[in-house]
């Protein structure tokens, strides 16, 4: 399990984040660590840097963590969360430019095969290549 890149799903909605994680687990199984978060610090729609930091740490793998996001604030907050990590971990976390549901499934599928973080990110981002 620690041989696979971890996946973090960050949506403005906790329901979307959880539903995406459920789909990933059903399609890819439990070989890949998947963590998710959604909602602002009050529990409303939005994203929270501290929840994203927790999710990254939950999905942590020595091979790194790929983050999938929905809208702009989720991306900005995810980038901020990466900078809040301890320095040794920062370079091992990437935010993928990919649609959240399809990207998470594709990234997790690639991760399950033991691919590197760069390969996982590239496969997820093929979805937005056009």
């Amino acid at each position: 399990m620690t041989d696979a890149v971890g996946i973090v799903i960050v949506s403005h909605s906790k329901d979307i984040a959880k539903g995406t994680a459920d789909m990933v687990r059903q399609m890819v199984g439990s070989e890949v660590k998947v963590a998710f978060c959604g909602g602002n610090p009050d529990g409303g729609l939005g994203t929270s840097v501290s929840l994203i930091v927790d999710a990254i740490n939950d999905a942590w793998s020595a091979k790194g963590v790929a983050i999938l996001v929905d809208l702009g604030g989720a991306e900005t907050n995810s980038e901020m969360a990466v900078e809040m990590l301890e320095p040794a971990r920062r370079d091992l976390v990437v935010v993928c430019n990919a649609p959240i549901v399809e990207g998470a499934v594709m990234a997790a599928t690639e991760a399950a095969g033991g691919s590197s973080l760069a390969q996982v990110k590239a496969v997820a981002e093929e979805l937005s290549a056009d």
Binding site: N40, P41, G44, L45, G46, T47, S50, G73, M80, M84
Partner: protein, 207 residues
Amino acid sequence: MSLQPETFKSLVKVAAERVIASAPELTSLDQAIGDGDHGFNMKRGFEAVLGKLDAISEQPFDEALKTIGKTLVMTVGGASGPLYGSFFLAAGEALSHDKHLPEDIADVFGSGVSAVSARGRSHAGEKTMLDVLVPVLETLKNAAGQPDLIARVSTTAAEAVERTAPMRATKGRASFLGPRSVGHIDPGARSSCVLVQAVCASLEGKQ
């Protein structure tokens, strides 16, 4: 002349209180061209700052600005959290490296503006908070040392926020609206103006 701790404390307090008071206006502006959460988010963030005001005012200025930045990052919840958070974190970082207030205000403010620009991958002219912050920085540079610097900064912020109305958004949620973003003041520019004018008012009250 150097910035006094009690002056710093009162300007942080005034700035936070004015942002909190402007939450309904910010929400209303954001409902027009964004997702309507800017007022709530800023209110939550600056209430958290107010909650730490005593601890913040006991820190050296560089650490105090970083605490404000980190508090905003952790509590605001929208894209404005990392943007404003980065501003204060970078301004605090500049103060940690041989910059002093008030004489280096343009450099310190400029570090914050650069951080916002990098975080948002944006620049002035895209209908964002940078359309207030960048003109304010220009005034801080151009009018440095002038007796009416504070009044000029305040006027600059007020005029700059109005200039965002005819702009078309190309960054952030408002960019989804394309031409329909034209005619509305940018909520992020407005919150930046509120902050800048609050600091100016607080400093003028001390003079």
